[in-house]
Assembly symmetry: C3
Homo-oligomer: 364 residues x 3
Amino acid sequence: MTAHRIEDIAIALGARFEGDGAFAITHAAEPARAGADALALAMDPKFAAGLAEGQARAAMVWEGADWQAMNLTAVIFVPRPRYAMAGLTALLDAGPRIAPGIHPSAVVDATAILGAGAAIGPLAVVGAGAVIGPNARIAAHVSIAEGAQIGADCLLREGVRIGHSVTIGDRFIAQPGAVIGGDGFSFVTPEAGAVEAVRASLGERGDARQQAYARIHSLGGVRIGDDVEVGANSCIDQGTIHPTEIGSGTKIDNLVQVGHNVRTGRDCLLCGQVGIAGSTRLGDRVVLGGQAGVTDHLEIGDDVIAGAGTLLRTNQPRGRVMLGNPAMEMKASIEAYKGLRRLPRLHADVTELRKMLSKPDPKT
Amino acid sequence: MTAHRIEDIAIALGARFEGDGAFAITHAAEPARAGADALALAMDPKFAAGLAEGQARAAMVWEGADWQAMNLTAVIFVPRPRYAMAGLTALLDAGPRIAPGIHPSAVVDATAILGAGAAIGPLAVVGAGAVIGPNARIAAHVSIAEGAQIGADCLLREGVRIGHSVTIGDRFIAQPGAVIGGDGFSFVTPEAGAVEAVRASLGERGDARQQAYARIHSLGGVRIGDDVEVGANSCIDQGTIHPTEIGSGTKIDNLVQVGHNVRTGRDCLLCGQVGIAGSTRLGDRVVLGGQAGVTDHLEIGDDVIAGAGTLLRTNQPRGRVMLGNPAMEMKASIEAYKGLRRLPRLHADVTELRKMLSKPDPKT
Amino acid sequence: MTAHRIEDIAIALGARFEGDGAFAITHAAEPARAGADALALAMDPKFAAGLAEGQARAAMVWEGADWQAMNLTAVIFVPRPRYAMAGLTALLDAGPRIAPGIHPSAVVDATAILGAGAAIGPLAVVGAGAVIGPNARIAAHVSIAEGAQIGADCLLREGVRIGHSVTIGDRFIAQPGAVIGGDGFSFVTPEAGAVEAVRASLGERGDARQQAYARIHSLGGVRIGDDVEVGANSCIDQGTIHPTEIGSGTKIDNLVQVGHNVRTGRDCLLCGQVGIAGSTRLGDRVVLGGQAGVTDHLEIGDDVIAGAGTLLRTNQPRGRVMLGNPAMEMKASIEAYKGLRRLPRLHADVTELRKMLSKPDPKT
């Protein structure tokens, strides 16, 4: 592990240090478990005891910490500890090791264009006419189909699949097994079928006979902005005619489904196992908690936040904070479910009131 | 992109054209964004303005459109626009490009049998004794295990996994990362455990001690009919003794879980992130919306439809339209959840009624 | 298929046989479909008719079955049929066929250490310094990154991804496409953002401007105990500083998400599509049904059981049996949802009571 001087870390974080700036650490650790070569993460006074327990000589500490009394050699003070973690971990992350150049086992088409500084891992495949920007890091078993375009500084981890007709901006990160550019799930029957009847009537299936499904092929590809990350085994489908679009700065966790023709705005957060059905649009800065879902053809405004497990079945104006399946505004949802817990009691109360009014419950 | 004559497209769609049938387009586009070489998709009068805005000279239009007044050269009239999209997109889809023959980097066992016209992509693996029908298109990094059988005209996209003991019909399509034939999730303790107690009692765990799990291995394989499609990163597990079965014509979206011993009927639609637990059977034409779930050992009748996010925990007679977690019939579910939103008010009302009857609420 | 003598099977299962112990079967089958070379699985009297229908000469039967009257040659009596299935299927499972030794197309780094008896499939990749115990079975297209450590007797099926900084115990099984060691989903804004405001206030987003996300890198790796199984396309993310941990004996189904810094105890069962958000801890023997979710930073006690589709948003003391979204104790949940179904009626009742008390409903 590379050693990092306290002074250099402080400069990288835009933070202030005290003590021996030349003291070097190789990794970060919780205070109680830290060895002498670790930077202890003690950004709150509650970690003081841990520092005493561990062996660390350097620490990232809370403002005002009396580090000399704690037998430390050097400390870094950070105003917003969680934010400092971003800079620190970036500095310490050796990342997956992919040797520079093209591994001899990789299959790179002669017409593919790789930017300077590419590192292409073993058994990766790059198709005809694909264009990949400078400093690409592409791990083992990745496939990039013909014609795909990826910007500068991408990191594609093991087994990522980039389909044909996919265009991606700079600094893209994809975790193992992510699939960008699968075909959309779009089928149609020769005559209107039961699902269309149910949608139109909110529940009546009519007497529509079911028929074999014909496939609507996906021709639209996927377009992804800059600074996007996609989690492990997540899927973003191609659009039908126009591309499915992911706005710049949007971060997508593992096992997320983004259907065909979806468009997300900038800086959205889609947590683990979120699903967004076809043709729905999300504004900027939308946050969907784990396992949340959004049905198809909806408009979700800027800054909407939905808690874990929320199902959005209707359009949402900007700024709404939603919870539940089906979704309500968060405060209303919490109140409603409190009421649900007390519902058996309420039924009993009403039965009693009926009796008091000598009005027998017809159910009993 | 290949050029297609308007007359040829009309014939392929079984549709009527007017104007210059020899006029050729290379792709489809929304009317307002269409260039001179595009077929504008303007199947509704609301697109008239868009046609004027764009550059298209050919369009697919609504019945009765006055195309000559709109400065078009040729038009196609379609009676059911959504259905016409199936034919049109099939015609225009160049699909993933996989060179005919076996890529030199692919590892195909000498005892595997490939039908005529196979295209096997780079770094694909085909195991001993596997049998694959004619015109197979198998993309990069696909693995087909020993003994698997696949019918004619399959398309397996990048990284698809076909296990041993899997049998698949004709015209099978699998999106990237789909897994057919993983082992079922089936474990058992030496003595009956807490989960069995909870199931028997609907909630009482008893004092069952937990014990180490023994694995029930999967020997049954998977059997898939004709015209089935499976989405990206979806999983269909092997059966224990008999195969897990997917009926012909069934379409499965991305990130769907089909447990061991499940049987689906024909022409089912399983939308994104649906989960079907072990040993459950679906009839024909069952439709499960996104993130819907079905618990294990259930019977779901023909033509059942469940909306997005629905959890089916009980058997369903044929034709039911269900919604919610837990599921109710759709109309009842919508009414019940309307009531839930008003529940805090109802609690207040009942408290007030109590007071009017001089019966103080014991909670206050 | 290998033939197995009835006597040998009985010994392996610790069970009693009667009849011709030398009679051999090649596979197991349902009684009605069993051929003459099958062991019929007839552990309940309800299968007696099926035995008559099929051709089996050997069967696993219920205690007290009059096998001679059923024209059988040999039978095995088992006290707990489901548990016997574990032993029987293990005996009959030929498993995926991976040739001993290293397939010539595999890319194994010269510094990787493989235990005796390894079978490494075609196009697998093993990185620098990886250490894999004896008798490893590693299927096609698996990647094991630099520095990963795996114990004895592992089975990694097709396309499994093991990241760098992953340590795994003995007898590990991973189904196709499982990803161990993707990076955690952890982002932070320079100043506190809307999500932090919503969490603090339970619903008020404040006027926090959204800002670009900075990435907190994952440095902690993953640590997995002995006897763990992970399902197809499931994901276990790296921890930030300390490893994400999976306790020995824990079994994980398909498409499950385990976030960064999560720790599970021993012998947990996580069914299909379960999601566990970052930093949550599960005790021992926790069982989460299909599509259940647990939000972040929670403590779930030993022996907690959550039914399918349950969302746990709060800490749970040991032994709780929970159901629903949001979760309640199972019996309370069942009662509450019964009440929900009758809620429209309750609203009507209360309106009527109001009228009887000459107190008009202000809503009407």
